[in-house]
C-alpha cells in the first residue's frame, strides 16, 4: 500500500491531465474561437480600380495615389506644432482635436489625421515628416480625372455607407464604391476583387509579420478597364453650350443605341469630389437645391415633350389609318373642340396644312384633329387611348429604359388606366385629353427618352436600348443592348414624317430654318413646352421650355439627339441652334457658323432663372 500510493497518484494525474487536455482542445471549442479573434488580423488589399475611356480611347478616369497622414499617438514626441499646422494648412485647434480623437481611439493603433492629400501637399510634408515622430504618410489610391467634363456620366466614388455594408458583405467599412454614374453601374467590373492578407498580431495588437507565411493570403484582382460610348469631344462641346443654362442634351447613335453625349446642366468638375476638399465640395453641390448640379437632367428631369411629340402622333395616325399624307386640315387659330378656349396655334389664319406642312410648321390644329381621330376610331375613348398609348410606349416612352445608367425616370404616357383613375370608368373622351396631341397635358418625357424616340424614327421603326457601355476588357456587353426593339409602326409610315422633319430646316416656314447647316441633311422638330412651376406654393406659369429633337444625316443617320433648355422659350431660340451645332461638331468636327456658336456659348439664362426666386413679380416668354 505504501509503495503503491505515489504510483497511483502519478497515473491518476496523467489521466486527469489528458482528460483536461481533451476538454480544452477537443470538446470545448470556445477557446479556439477566442484564439482566432485575437491572434491574427485580416486586412484588405485593394485592387487598382479600372480605368474609364471614351469611345475613341481617350482616357477619362485613371487612378492617382493619395496620401493620408496617419498618427500613432503613443509614438508622438513633442514637435513643432506650428510647422505641422502650416504644412497641413489646418488650425492648431483642429490638430489638437484630431490628436485627441486618435488617442481616444487607440494610443497604439494608427489613426487618420488628414486624408487624401494631393501630391503637392505630400511633397512638402514628406521633406519634413522626419521631424514629427509618430506621424507617417500612408498611400492610398483615389480617382484621377483626366477631364473636367462628364461628372454626371462618370459619377463618383465614395466611402460605403453602413447600409451598403449590411446589404452586401463584399464591402467593409472604409471601402470606396461607385455611388453614381458609370462608377455605380459598372461598379463590379471596375472595382476588381479585393485581396486578403492575414497578419499575425501580438498581444499589443501590433502586426508582427504575415500569418502562416502568407499561405492564406489572396492577391487582389485589378478592376477591368471599360470604354464608354460617350464621345468626350462632343460631350465637352455640349457642356460648353449649356453653360449658364439649365437642361439636358442627349445624343444617341441610332444604329447602335450608344449614347454619344449625355449633358446635364449645370454640372461640375468631377475632380471636385476627390481630395481633401471632397466633403466640403460635395456638401456645397448637394445643398444647392436651386440649380441642383447633382441632378442629371438628361436622365431624370421629366418635361412635357411639346411639339416633338407630334411626330409620334403623326406616325400613330398613319399606322391607324386615320390620316394620310395628302389630307389637309384648315387651321383657324388652333383646334376648336367645344371647349371655351381652343388649342391655340401660331399658323397664319386659314392655312390649309397637309401632314408635311403640319410637321415643319408645327400646326396644333392638324395634330389636335389627328389625335381626336385616333382615339375616336375606337368604340370608346378608353379603348382608343389604350391603342394610342401602346403605340407611344413602343418607342420606349413612359417607362424606365432599363439600361446601364444609374439613374432615370419613368416619364409618363397617360394610358386608358391612367385616365380611368382620373375621370372614372367610361367617362373619358378624346377631347379631355387633347393636349396629348401636342405633347402637353399629361405626357412627360425625359431628354434621353426623347432622344431615343428620335433614334427610332431615324431608324424607321426600331431602336436599341440606349446604353453607355461600349467595351469591357475581356467581357461581352449585355445582350439586351444589341437586341433590336421594334416599334408598332410600319416602316413605310416613317418616310413622310422624316420628310416633314427634313423640311423643318429646309422650308422657309420651317421652325428650324434658321439653324440649317450647309452640307448636312438634318431632320428635326422644335418644341416649345408650356411649364407651370410652384413659386412659394403658388402654381405659376413660367417661361416655356425650349426643346428640339433631331437626327442627321437624313439617310443612314449617325446621330439622334434631344435638347432641352429650361425656360428657353421657343424651340428655335436655344434648342434648335444647339442641336445643329452638336450635329455639325459630331459629323464635321468643326463649326462653320461661328457667330451662332459664340451666341450659344456665351448666352445666359441666369437672369431668367433668377427672377423666379427673386420674389419680385416677373413677366414670362420675353
Amino acid at each position: 500500500m505504501r509503495k503503491a500510493l505515489l504510483y497511483l497518484l502519478v497515473i491518476l494525474t496523467g489521466i486527469l491531465f489528458i482528460g483536461r487536455l481533451f476538454y480544452l482542445q477537443i470538446y470545448d471549442d470556445s477557446f479556439k474561437l477566442q484564439s482566432e479573434s485575437n491572434a491574427y488580423k485580416r486586412i484588405k488589399v485593394y485592387p487598382e480600380r479600372g480605368h474609364i475611356y471614351d469611345r475613341n480611347g481617350q482616357l477619362l478616369v485613371a487612378n492617382q495615389p493619395s496620401y493620408d497622414l496617419m498618427v500613432i499617438p503613443r509614438k508622438v514626441k513633442p514637435f513643432d506644432s506650428l510647422m505641422l499646422c502650416e504644412l497641413l494648412s489646418i488650425s492648431k485647434q483642429d490638430l489638437i482635436k484630431k490628436l485627441e480623437k486618435a488617442r481616444h481611439y487607440s494610443p497604439r493603433l494608427p489613426s487618420l489625421v488628414v486624408g487624401q492629400m494631393s501630391k503637392i501637399e505630400y511633397a512638402s510634408l514628406q521633406e519634413k515628416i522626419r521631424k514629427f515622430e509618430g506621424f507617417y504618410i500612408q498611400k492610398r489610391s483615389t480617382r484621377d480625372y483626366q477631364t473636367t467634363i462628364g461628372a454626371n456620366v462618370l459619377g463618383y466614388i465614395a466611402e460605403v455607407t453602413p447600409q451598403k455594408v449590411k446589404e452586401n458583405p463584399y464591402y467593409q467599412s472604409g471601402d470606396l464604391y461607385g455611388k453614381s454614374g458609370v462608377e455605380k453601374s459598372y461598379e463590379e467590373i471596375l472595382r476588381g476583387v479585393k485581396g486578403v492578407k492575414y497578419l499575425q498580431k501580438d498581444k499589443f495588437n501590433r502586426d508582427i509579420g504575415s500569418y502562416k507565411q502568407g499561405a492564406l493570403d489572396t492577391m487582389p484582382i485589378n478592376g477591368n478597364d471599360i470604354k464608354i460610348t460617350i464621345d468626350a469631344k462632343l460631350q465637352e462641346y455640349g457642356e460648353a453650350l449649356m453653360v449658364n443654362k439649365r437642361g439636358g442634351i442627349v445624343a444617341i447613335e441610332p444604329s447602335s443605341g450608344e449614347i454619344l453625349a449625355l449633358v446635364s446642366a449645370p454640372s461640375y468638375n468631377p475632380g471636385l469630389l476627390v481630395g481633401r476638399q471632397r466633403s466640403k465640395n460635395f456638401t456645397k453641390l448637394y445643398l444647392d437645391t436651386i440649380a441642383r448640379p447633382l441632378y442629371d437632367r438628361g436622365l431624370q428631369a421629366q418635361y412635357p415633350p411639346g411639339s416633338p411629340f407630334k411626330l409620334l402622333n403623326a406616325l400613330i395616325g398613319l399606322e391607324e389609318g386615320v390620316i394620310n399624307t395628302t389630307g389637309r386640315v384648315t387651321c383657324r387659330n388652333g383646334f376648336h373642340y367645344g371647349a371655351k378656349k381652343p388649342l391655340g396655334c401660331h399658323c397664319s389664319y386659314g392655312a390649309s396644312n397637309d401632314l408635311n406642312k403640319a410637321i415643319f410648321a408645327s400646326c396644333n390644329a392638324y395634330f389636335g384633329s389627328t389625335y381626336k381621330k385616333i382615339i375616336d376610331k375606337y368604340p370608346n375613348a378608353t379603348i382608343g387611348l389604350k391603342h394610342w398609348s401602346d403605340h407611344a410606349k413602343s418607342f420606349g416612352l413612359g417607362n424606365f429604359l432599363n439600361n446601364d445608367l444609374s439613374v432615370g425616370s419613368k416619364g409618363r404616357i397617360p394610358d386608358d388606366k391612367f385616365y380611368e383613375r382620373w375621370y372614372g370608368k367610361n367617362r373619358v373622351y378624346s377631347t379631355f385629353t387633347i393636349s396629348n396631341a401636342i405633347g402637353q397635358g399629361e405626357v412627360l418625357t425625359t431628354p434621353i427618352q426623347l432622344a431615343n424616340m428620335t433614334a427610332a424614327i431615324a431608324n424607321k421603326g426600331y431602336y436599341f436600348t440606349p446604353h453607355i457601355i461600349k467595351e469591357i476588357k475581356g467581357e461581352k456587353i449585355a445582350k439586351k443592348y444589341t437586341t433590336k426593339r421594334v416599334t408598332t409602326i410600319s416602316k413605310e409610315h416613317f418616310a413622310p414624317v422624316i420628310q416633314g422633319m427634313f423640311d423643318v430646316y429646309e422650308q422657309p416656314g420651317g421652325t428650324g430654318y434658321r439653324s440649317r447647316v450647309k452640307g448636312i441633311e438634318i431632320c428635326g422638330k422644335t418644341g416649345t413646352a408650356e411649364v407651370k412651376g410652384k413659386i412659394n406654393g403658388v402654381t405659376t406659369q413660367l417661361t416655356d421650355h425650349s426643346i428640339f429633337v433631331a437626327f442627321a444625316p437624313k439617310d443612314n443617320p449617325k446621330i439622334a439627339l434631344a435638347v432641352f433648355v429650361e425656360h428657353g422659350y421657343w424651340g428655335g431660340r436655344w434648342a434648335a441652334p444647339m442641336a445643329s451645332l452638336m450635329i455639325e461638331k459630331y459629323l464635321k468636327g468643326k463649326i462653320t457658323r461661328t457667330d451662332l456658336e459664340t451666341r450659344m456659348l456665351t448666352g445666359s439664362l441666369q437672369e431668367e432663372y433668377d427672377k423666379y426666386i427673386s420674389g419680385e413679380p416677373f413677366t414670362i416668354n420675353k
Partner: protein
C-alpha cells in the same frame, strides 16, 4: 570493481532517453515561444539560444556526475546540504532581484538560482539521514529532525519571496510515507487542504454544518463500538475552527493578489483581463491546438506572445497549441513514464540511501509536473514553478539534471552495494 569500466552498460538508458526527449521537446517549445524573425538579435540574446548553451553544459554536468564515485554522494551529502543552505542564506546579502524575487546570484550575463539546487541537496540529506540504521521514523525525536532537514530550505526560500519553490518541499511527505510515516500525517494534510479549499468556496457556517452532520452520521454508524465522544468533538471543533480561521486568514492575512489567484481557479471570479489574463490566455493557446495542433512555429497565440512567461512557467501551453491533443498527451505520458520508471528503479535499490533518494527524485518531479501543468491548464492557482527539463532557465535545467543523474549513477552502481 571490474564492472567499473562498464558503467555505460549498467546505466538505465530508458531514463536517459526520456530525459533527452523531454529536454529536446522543451527546447523546441522555447524556440517557438521566443522565436523572432528579427535576425538582428544574436543567438545569445534570445532564450532559445541561451537554452542551447544550458543544455550543452548539462551534458558536461552529466558526464561529471556519472564519473564521480557513487559513494561520494552519500558521504558528502551533509556537506552538500550545508553548502546549499549557505547559498540560500547568502541571497539575503548578495542576491539579485529579478521580477520581485531575490532568488538569484548574478555572474556576468548569467544568473544562478540556488533554490533549484537545494532540492537535490535536501534529497541527499534526507536519504542520508533516513538510511542511518539508528534513525527511527516513528520516534518523535527523529521525526522533528527529519522535518528540520526538509523544511529548513523551504523556510529560507519562502521570504525571498518564492512560495512556489518552497511548496515543492511538501513532496517529501510522499517519501516519508513510503518510509513508514504514519498515514495520519498525510490524511491530516489532505483533510486540511480540502477544508481550506471548501472554505474558500462555501461559507464557514455551511462547512461547520456539513462537518457536524458528517460527525453525527459517523458517530451513529459506529455507536456499537462505543466511540469516544471526546474524540469526535475534538475533530469536529478542529474542523470548524480551521474553517473559520482559514476564512479569517484568507480575508485578512492574504494579499489581494493571492485571493484573486484562488478565486479565479475556483471559478468565483471570471476575469480575463487582469490577474486572470495569464490563465485565460494559456487556456486559449492550448484550446487552439485541437487534435494535432498548429504545427511547430505555427501557433498563433505563441507567435503573438499572448501567453505571458510562455517560455518559462507556461511553456506547456506552447506544446498544447503547436502539437495539439496528441502531442501534449504524449508529453504528459513522457512525464508519467519518467516518474514511474524512477519509482520502479527506486524500489529495486538494495541500499536504503539510494531508494530514499530515488523516491525523493520521483516525488519532486511529480510535484513540479502536477502543479505546473495544472496551473497552465487553469485548474490550479498561478504559482511560479517550472516544468522540469522543459522550462527555460539554466538553474532549473541544471538542478533537475543533477537531481536525476545522481539517481541514475546510484542506480547504475547498485550491484556494488553489498
Amino acid at each position: 570493481m571490474r564492472n567499473k569500466g562498464n558503467i555505460l552498460v549498467r546505466l538505465d538508458w530508458l531514463l536517459i532517453v526520456l530525459y533527452f526527449a523531454l529536454v529536446i521537446i522543451g527546447w523546441m517549445s522555447i524556440y517557438s515561444a521566443s522565436y523572432s524573425s528579427d535576425t538582428t538579435l544574436s543567438m545569445l540574446s534570445q532564450p532559445h539560444g541561451r537554452q542551447q548553451i544550458f543544455i550543452g553544459l548539462s551534458i558536461v554536468l552529466i558526464i561529471l556526475i556519472l564519473s564521480i564515485e557513487a559513494k561520494f554522494y552519500e558521504r558528502f551529502s551533509s556537506i552538500i546540504y550545508l553548502v546549499s543552505l549557505l547559498s540560500l542564506l547568502g541571497l539575503f546579502v548578495f542576491g539579485k532581484t529579478i521580477s520581485g524575487a531575490t532568488s538569484w546570484y548574478a555572474f556576468g550575463g548569467f544568473s544562478i538560482q540556488p533554490s533549484e539546487f537545494a532540492k537535490f541537496a535536501t534529497s541527499l540529506a534526507l536519504a542520508k539521514f533516513l538510511s542511518d540504521t539508528q534513525t527511527n521514523i516513528k520516534s518523535l525525536n527523529d521525526l522533528i529532525k527529519i522535518f528540520v532537514i526538509i523544511f529548513l530550505p523551504a523556510l529560507i526560500i519562502v521570504p525571498q519571496p518564492d512560495p512556489g519553490s518552497a511548496l515543492v518541499y511538501a513532496a517529501f511527505f510522499f517519501v516519508l510515507y513510503r518510509e513508514g510515516l504514519s498515514p495520519v500525517y498525510l490524511l491530516l494534510g489532505f483533510s486540511a487542504a480540502t477544508l481550506f479549499v471548501l472554505t474558500l468556496v462555501l461559507d464557514p457556517l455551511i462547512i461547520s454544518i456539513i462537518c457536524f452532520v458528517l460527525a453525527v452520521l459517523f458517530f451513529l454508524k459506529n455507536r456499537k463500538k462505543k466511540p469516544s465522544k471526546l474524540l469526535y468533538i475534538t475533530v469536529l471543533s478542529a474542523c470548524v475552527g480551521l474553517s473559520y480561521s482559514v476564512n479569517y486568514i484568507f480575508e485578512n492575512v492574504f494579499e489581494q493578489r493571492h485571493r484573486d489567484r484562488f478565486n479565479i481557479v475556483l471559478g468565483k471570479e471570471v476575469d480575463t483581463k487582469g490577474i486572470g489574463y495569464n490563465t485565460a490566455q494559456s487556456e486559449i493557446a492550448i484550446g487552439n491546438g485541437g487534435w494535432t495542433g498548429k504545427g511547430w512555429l505555427q501557433g498563433t497565440q505563441t507567435k503573438g506572445g499572448f501567453v505571458p512567461e510562455q517560455h518559462t512557467d507556461y511553456i506547456f501551453s506552447t506544446v498544447g497549441e503547436e502539437w495539439g491533443f496528441l502531442g501534449s498527451s504524449f508529453v504528459v505520458l513522457l512525464f508519467v513514464a519518467l516518474i514511474l520508471r524512477i519509482l520502479h528503479r527506486a524500489e529495486l535499490q538494495k541500499s536504503k540511501f539510494s531508494r530514499v533518494y530515488g523516491y525523493s527524485v520521483a516525488a519532486i518531479l511529480f510535484f513540479h509536473f502536477l502543479i505546473n501543468i495544472a496551473m497552465v491548464m487553469g485548474v490550479f492557482p498561478t504559482v511560479g514553478i517550472p516544468l522540469p527539463f522543459f522550462s527555460y532557465g539554466g538553474s532549473g535545467l541544471w538542478g533537475f539534471t543533477i537531481l536525476l543523474f545522481i539517481f541514475i549513477k546510484l542506480d547504475a552502481n547498485k550491484i556494488n552495494e553489498w
